[in-house]
Amino acid sequence: MTAIAAGSLGRGNRTWIKTAIGVVLTGVMLFPVYWMLNVSFTQNKDMRKSPPDLFPAHATLEGYRAVFDQQLPYLGTSLVIGLGTVVLTVALAAPAGYALAKLRPRGGGVLSFLLLVAQMVPGIIMAMGFYAIYLNLGLLQSVPGLIVADSTLAVPFAVLIFTAFMSGIPGELIQAAQMDGASPLRTFCSIVLPMSRNSVVTVSLFAFLWSWSDFIFASTLANGGSHEPITLGIYHYIGNNNQEWNAIMATAVVASLPATVILVLAQRYVAAGVTAGAVKD
């Protein structure tokens, strides 16, 4: 690290050097991702080669064929659970965010404090509690059960994001709608929600991603059932002492697709979600 100033004086050659350093750093950081891709294309007989091939010189698709043959049900389950989590999260959190931002409910401060605290509860605790409850209710290994559990990863975050976004909506608009005789529900659906499209996108992206990536609820609540998500698909692959690492890594590549799509299509929403509120704008 040589130069520190913001808006440095560097021009011409110096910025190119920085770009070069930046590319190298990014390359180092993303090497594991490259390695995952590389291994996913490597033939089984080359897997134990020493030293390993840095490029898939004799690339094969057998790993991906294994994904196609064995992992599709897991991927389907994850997709359903992810979409279910998105719907449940938005349906619960958007009205709450509206109330907290615009309707000044008594006790609203306490509620948003509880939501912040709820986010800090370790997943293993939630998993054990859910296990005990679901066992009695017969909800273990069920898709709705997993959707509800996964939504706990996203709901507090979603309420806080909606609250922050919706407090930016001008109060005059809401009052005008009420003057025209719109019911509170009508106001919410036809004024507030359409204006909060960005926050709905942000919340949906994160809710989907977290639910898609969830391992702890899956392994405690869905293990052994007929509807297991892709994280368990990969875990069983590793756990069975499987030596076909190309198939394992190919599954990992496919499981990473939603994250990649989200980063490419919605990078600004992701950055907004990460920093939301951490720093005052």
Binding site: M1, I4, A5, G7, S8, K18, L25, T26, L30, P32, V33, M47, K49, P52, A93, A96, A99, L100, A101, R104, P105, G108, G109, L111, L114, L115, L116, V121, P122, G123, I124, I125, M128, G129, F130, Y131, I133, N136, T152, L160, I161, P184, F188, F215, T220, I234, I238, I248, M249, S256, A259, T260, L263, A271, V274, A276, G277, A278, V279, K280
Partner: protein, 328 residues
């Protein structure tokens, strides 16, 4: 470790409320009161689903967990719900367990080392990317990839990279005459291995938050310092670092809360082993509750509750610091 940060919206709302209170004319009397009451009903109608949700899906699981830790549950009584009440016996058993001391030590080491490395690497990168060279925005976005990947993907990729016989890491070390290191199968290296993987996942978060903190430091300060002849190193220590302190505090505290509960990475890479050499409270709790053929739900819940207490203590410190910053 997935995490995001947010600010409690209360401050702003309290200000609103005060504003509304002063604006509302005093003598309106009963009608206003009635309108305000119906207004409250509307507000709570919008809030009710989430309030109910919090009670059913946060408070109740937490209560069940507490209940588990105070009874002597077996698989049978777990289903039938008639386990005898044993008070703090599970907690006493956990404290006397030979795993307790190593788990405590590993949790402390794992959390501290991860935080220090994630923060310092994240800060160095944030300062570097803050120079706005060509492609810097795209490269910075690419840095988010490890943070977005499912943890099972990161953990299994690192497992294979750190494989003793066929991993790329040992192949590289071999090329320079070191090794082989038994990253995941030797008790002296397992904790290091899971720390490496977790730091890799946590750096992007630190980078993004610290970078946005850097954005709010006025460039004029740097220009003035440069005119006074301060070198880059000097500018970092007398401008960047002190002005970034509030953001650093938030980043580190939140990182602490979230690193304490890291489970997936460790469990997938080493299952806390070999011989408990990478066991933390989170993996120990899971191990007790779900890792064996005969589950020990009581002690597992007890370990988990200790973890909750630690997370909440630091979590409340975080909220307090954040509130203080927001109001200043």
């Amino acid at each position: 470790m997935k995490h995001t940060t947010q600010q409690p919206p209360d401050q702003r709302r309290t200000a609103d409320r005060n504003g509304a209170a002063t604006a509302a004319p005093a003598p309106a009397g009963a009608t206003t009161r009635r309108r305000r009451a119906s207004h409250q009903w509307t507000a709570w109608a919008f809030l009710a689903p989430v309030a109910l949700y919090l009670a059913l899906f946060y408070a109740y699981p937490l209560y069940r967990n507490l209940d588990l830790s105070l009874h002597n549950y077996t698989v049978r009584s777990f289903v039938r719900g008639d386990a005898p009440f044993t008070g703090l016996a599970n907690y006493r058993a956990v404290f006397d367990d030979p795993t307790f001391a190593p788990a405590l030590l590993h949790t402390a080491v794992f959390t501290t080392v991860c935080l220090v490395l994630q923060y310092s690497i994240g800060l160095a990168l944030a300062v570097f990317f803050n120079q706005h060279f060509r492609l810097s925005a795209i490269l910075r976005a690419l840095f988010l990839v490890p943070w977005l990947l499912p943890l099972i993907v990161s953990a299994s990729t690192w497992s294979w990279m750190l494989n003793s016989d066929s991993g790329i890491v040992n192949a590289t070390l071999h090329a320079v005459g070191i090794g082989p290191v038994h990253w995941l199968t030797s008790p002296s290296w397992s904790l290091t291995s899971v720390i490496i993987a977790n730091v890799w996942i946590g750096v992007p978060f630190n980078l993004v938050v610290l970078y946005s903190g850097l954005q709010s430091i006025p460039a004029s300060l740097y220009e003035a310092a440069a005119l006074d002849g301060a070198g880059a190193w000097r500018r970092f220590w007398s401008i960047t670092f002190p002005l970034l302190r509030p953001v650093s505090a938030i980043t580190l505290l939140l990182g602490l809360v979230y690193t304490l509960k890291v489970f997936d990475i460790i469990w997938i890479m080493t299952k806390g082993g070999p011989a408990d050499s990478s066991t933390t409270f989170a993996t120990w709790s899971y191990q007790l509750g779900f890792g064996n053929l005969l589950p020990a739900f009581g002690p597992g819940a007890a370990v988990g509750n200790l973890l909750v207490v630690a997370a909440l203590v630091f979590g409340l410190v975080y909220l307090k610091v954040q509130r203080k910053q927001a109001s200043s």
